[in-house]
C-alpha cells in the first residue's frame, strides 16, 4: 500500500452526449470537475487519480448479447466508461489504493443482458462488465452490488437475476412513481437465486433520515450476512433534493455518510442530473468520505430548500424494512420452496421499453433449475423500432462452472433454434470459455 486510500478515475467525457440538450450531455460533470479541481482534491496524498483504459469489446460481450452485435450499438465513450470502472477495480485489486471511485459517464445500470439500443441513458452495464472482469481475471466469486441511484437498477438486476453469488440491493424511488417502473419487493431473483435480489422501493420525499434508516436496519445487516468478497456501489446521485428527474430529498451529507458506512471497495457513478446544484457537492462529499477525510463542511448553498420527511413516510419506511427483515430471515426456506415449486425449468416473459431509442422488446427467458450448477439460460427476444423495423435473436447462456448436462442442453437449444429459423440471430455465450459466438 502506498498510503493512498482512494483511487479516482475521473472521466467527464467532455466530447460525448446522447443529444445536445439530453440530461446525459457533455457538461454533466463540468461543474463537478470545477469543484474537485478547485478543492485541490487531486493533490491530496490520500487520493490518486487514474486515467481510464479503453475496455475491449470482449469485456462487454462477457456480459451482453448485442443484437446484431454490441460493437454497432455503442460508441468509444461507452468503452472508456466501462474501462474506467475496470481501471478503478484493478487499482483496488492491485492494492495500490484501499478503495476506488469511477466518476465516469455514460452510466450503465439500465442496460440489460440483451441489448437492442439505449435505455435510461445506458447502453452497456459498466458495473456488470467490471464484475465479470473481476471474476474472470481475479477469481472473485461472491459480489455485492448496492445500487444507490434513485432509479431502479433494472439492468443490473436482469443480468444477475439467476446468480445466487451476486447480491443485488437496490433502493430507489418507488417504481409506481418513476422510471423504469420496476423494482418492487417481490422481484427477488429466480428460484435458484431467490433473495439475492433485494429491492427497496421508497416513497417520494424520502430524506437522509429515511435513507439511513434503510441502510442501518436492512442494507448493512444483509451485507453482513451475505459476506461478499467485494462490495460495489452503483453510485447514482439522483436521490438529491434538487434532482430534476426524481422526487427524493437526500443531501450531500446524506450521500457522504452513506459512502462512509457502506465502505464499498469500488463505487461507480450512475445517474445524477442536478449537474450544477447537486453533483459538485455530492461528488466532493463521496470522494472525501471514501478517502477517509473530513466531509463535514460539504454543504449545498441552498440546503434550506431541502424538505423534511413526512411522518407518513417515516412510518411507511419502517414497515417496509420490517417486511424485508422477515423475508431475509426466511430466505433459505423461501428458496427451497420456490425451487421445489418451479420444477426443472423456470420461465418469464416480459416487455421492455427502450425510452432513449424508442424500441419495444418482447423477451422470454427460460432458466434450468439444475441441482449441479447455476443452470443454463435461454433468451428469445424480438424488438421493434426505428430505423431497423424488427429484429429477433435467440441466445443460450452457459454459466460459470456449468455442469456437462447444462452445457450440452444449451448447445442443443441454440442448434434447434437455428434450424427452426424463426430468429434473425442465434448466439451462444459461454462464461467458462469466455466467448460469445454468433451461430
Amino acid at each position: 500500500m502506498t498510503g493512498k486510500s482512494l483511487g479516482l478515475v475521473f472521466f467527464p467525457a467532455f466530447d460525448w452526449a446522447i443529444t445536445p440538450s439530453h440530461p446525459e450531455r457533455e457538461e454533466r460533470l463540468l461543474y463537478t470537475r470545477d469543484q474537485i479541481v478547485e478543492e485541490g482534491l487531486l493533490d491530496l496524498p490520500a487520493i490518486r487519480e487514474y486515467r481510464p483504459r479503453l475496455a475491449q469489446i470482449q469485456d462487454a460481450e462477457r456480459v451482453h448479447i448485442g443484437v446484431p452485435d454490441i460493437a454497432s450499438l455503442i460508441t468509444d465513450a461507452h468503452l472508456v466508461s466501462a474501462g474506467g470502472a475496470i481501471t478503478a477495480a484493478e487499482a483496488v485489486m492491485h492494492r495500490e489504493v484501499n478503495r476506488a471511485f469511477a466518476l465516469v459517464r455514460p452510466p450503465g445500470h439500465h442496460a440489460m443482458r440483451v441489448v437492442h439500443g439505449t435505455r435510461g441513458f445506458c447502453t452497456i452495464n459498466i458495473e456488470a462488465i467490471m464484475v465479470e472482469y473481476l471474476r474472470r481475471y481475479y477469481g472473485l466469486n461472491r459480489v455485492a452490488i448496492v445500487d444507490t441511484d434513485v432509479h431502479h437498477g433494472d439492468g443490473t438486476q436482469d443480468i444477475f437475476y439467476h446468480d445466487p453469488d451476486t447480491l443485488f440491493i437496490s433502493f430507489h424511488q418507488d417504481g409506481r412513481t418513476l422510471y423504469p417502473g420496476t423494482g418492487a419487493i417481490h422481484e427477488m431473483g429466480s428460484p435458484g437465486a431467490l433473495c439475492s435480489t433485494v429491492n427497496i422501493p421508497l416513497p417520494p420525499g424520502t430524506t437522509d433520515a429515511g435513507l439511513h434508516y434503510v441502510l442501518d436496519n436492512l442494507v448493512l445487516p444483509v451485507l453482513e450476512d451475505f459476506k461478499p468478497d467485494i462490495i460495489i456501489n452503483s453510485a447514482g446521485q439522483d436521490n438529491h433534493y434538487s434532482d430534476p428527474l426524481a422526487n427524493m430529498a437526500v443531501t450531500a451529507q446524506g450521500y457522504a455518510l452513506l459512502a462512509e458506512k457502506l465502505k464499498a471497495d469500488i463505487a461507480v457513478l450512475e445517474g445524477g442530473y442536478s449537474i450544477e446544484d447537486a453533483l459538485p457537492y455530492v461528488n466532493t462529499g463521496i470522494i472525501l468520505a471514501m478517502a477517509g477525510l473530513d466531509y463535514s463542511r460539504v454543504i449545498e448553498p441552498d440546503i434550506a430548500r431541502c424538505p423534511r420527511q413526512s411522518d407518513a413516510n417515516t412510518r411507511y419506511i419502517a414497515k417496509l424494512v420490517t417486511e424485508w427483515q422477515e423475508i431475509w430471515h426466511a430466505r433459505n426456506k423461501l428458496r427451497h420452496e420456490a425451487v421445489a415449486k418451479a420444477g426443472d425449468f423456470w420461465q418469464r416473459r416480459r416487455g421492455i421499453y427502450y425510452d432513449d431509442s424508442g424500441i419495444q422488446e418482447q423477451r422470454t427467458e427460460t432458466v434450468r433449475l439444475c441441482p449441479r450448477c447455476h443452470g443454463y439460460l435461454t433468451i428469445s427476444t424480438q424488438a421493434e423500432g426505428y430505423p431497423f423495423g424488427r429484429k429477433s435473436a435467440f441466445a443460450a447462456i452457459i454459466p460459470r462452472n456449468a455442469c456437462p448436462v447444462c452445457r450440452n442442453q444449451a448447445h442443443d437449444a441454440v442448434q434447434k433454434a437455428k434450424k427452426e429459423g424463426r430468429h434473425d440471430h442465434c448466439f451462444i455465450q459461454d462464461k467458462d470459455k469466455d466467448t460469445l459466438e454468433h451461430i
Binding site: E38, E39, G40, T284, V298, P301
Partner: protein, 557 residues
Amino acid sequence: MLLGIDVGGTFTDAVVIRNGKILASAKTPTTHYELLNGIITAIDKVLAKINLREVKRVALSTTIVTNALVEGKIDKVALLLLPGPGLNLAGLTPAQPYFLSGYTDHRGREQAAPVKDEVVAVCREIKDCKAVAVAGKFAVRNPAQEQVVAGWAGECLKPAHITLGAELSGALNYLRRVNSAYYNSAVWRIFTNFAVAIEAALAERGVAAPVYILKADGGTLPLAAAKARPVEAIFTGPAASVLGIMALAAPEGPAVSLDIGGTTTDIALWQNGAPLFAPGGARVNGFPTAVRSFWLRSVGVGGDSYVRRENGRIAVGPMRRGPAMANGGPEPAVTDALIVAGLIDYGDVALARQAMTKVAATGQTPEDAAWEALRTAADIVCQAIRDMLAEQAAMPVYKVEDIVYGEKFIPKLVIGVGGAALGLAPLVAEQMELPWQVPPGHMVANAVGAASARQTTEITLRADTAQGFYTVPELGIKRDIDRRRFTLDDAWAAADNHLAERAAAGGLTEATCHSERLYEEEFNVIRGFNTIGKIITCKLQLKPGVLTQVTAQEVGQ
C-alpha cells in the same frame, strides 16, 4: 548585449552574450550567506573587459527565494481564507489560517457576503503581521470578495504587503492558490530587500540596463513586477538550465534533456520545442502551489556522486562525499570513473585510478570498475526517465478523443548539459537507444538560459454568457458582456487585449507577438431543454522561450 547570472548550489556563473555568441563567461563560488557578494564578484569578473553601456539587459536566476524557504527565513503571514463549503483545510496549509465567512460558488456567484467585523477582529489578533495573504474559493470565477477582504485588512493592519490568491494564478485549485499566496507574502520582504540591493550594486557599477528575474516557468519578470510576485522566482536554477538548452540546442522534436551537475541530474521532457510543464504547479516545502514550473525530475546522480561497493555490486549516489578523488576529494566519485573510462580529460588521472581500484572487485581492472560505475549511474537516470514517460502516459485526460487517439510521447533525442554531460549523456542515450547531443557552451548553460530568457505571462478568461460577465482573475477583472452576442471569438479577442495590457503594464517589451493559445473550452448552459447561455474558457500565454539562439565555442573557466 545580454548579461545573465545563475546562482547555483556550488558556483555562480555569469555570461555576456552578443549577437547570439558567448562573449565572456565567469564562474565564482556561490556565497550562501551573503548571496549578493558572489553575484557581484561574478558580475565584476565577466564585465571586466566589457563596455558597460552596451549591456542592454541583465537577467538573474537566483536561489534567494528557495533558500529563504529552505532555511525558514520567512515572515509571519496572516492567512485569511474564504473557503466556503467543501474540504476542511485545517492542517493542509503551511500556516494556521483564519477562516472567514462569505463565499462564491463555481459559477462565480456570491452565495454569502464577507463580514467586515470578522476581518477587523482577526486583524486585532494579528497586529504584528506585516504580510497578509487573502484567498477565496472560486475567486478565479469572481475576484470581488478577495478584493473586499484585502481592502479591509489593509485598512486595519496597514501591512507592508498583501497577496491576493487569484492574482497569482487564474487556474482552478484553491489549495494551490492558498499555498502560493502564503509563500508569496512570506518571502516578500527578503526578496524585496535583495532586489533593492541588486539594483543599488548595478547602479554603482554604472549598469543602467533593466534587470529581470527568472521564474520557475522559464520566463522572466522585470524586477519591479517580481517584487509583487516573488514566489514565482523559486526553483529558477533548473528553469535556467532548461532555457539554456533551448538557446544552445533548440530541440524541435520530442526529446529528453539532462542537466548533469555535481550532485544531481535534472531531467526534462520536450515537445514542440518547449519543455513540458508540471501539472498544477510546483511543490514548495512539500505543499502544492500554483507556481507554474517546468516538469522536472531530479535524481541523485552527478559528477560528485559517491561511488562504493555494496553487497558485491557498485552503488552510485545519491549522496556526495566531497569532490572526486581526482579533484582532491576523499572518496571515489562518478568523475573518477569518467576519467578512468577515458570519457573526460580533467583532474589527476593517477588519483582517479586509485579511486577505481578502491571500488574494483577482486580481479577487476580499474577500467572495468569505472565502466560498471558509469553503467550503474546511467541505469539510475534511465529508470527515472522511464518513470517520467510512464507518468506522462498515465496523465489524466477528459475527452474520449484523447483516450482513443491520444499520441504517446516517445523521445527521439537525448540532450545533455552540465559538468559531467559529455561523459554520462552518451551512456544514457545508448541505453535508451537514442541519438544524443551535448551542445557547446553546455558548461554555462544555466547562465546562458538566464541571459536569453524571454518574458512570459499567462491569463485566463472565463465568460459566463448566461450570467452576462467574464473574469480575468490574474488582472482582478470582472466585466459585463452582451449575453446574446458574446462568442468564443469575442472571448479570444478580449483575451488577446488583456494579455497585451498585462504585458505592457509589466514592462514586457515584446508584447504579444509570441502569444500562444493554451486551452479553450466551450459548454452550453441548459435549463429544461433550452440553451440559455455558454460557459467559455480561454487560456493564453506569452510562450516561454529565448530571445536568441546562442552558439558557443567552449569557453575557458
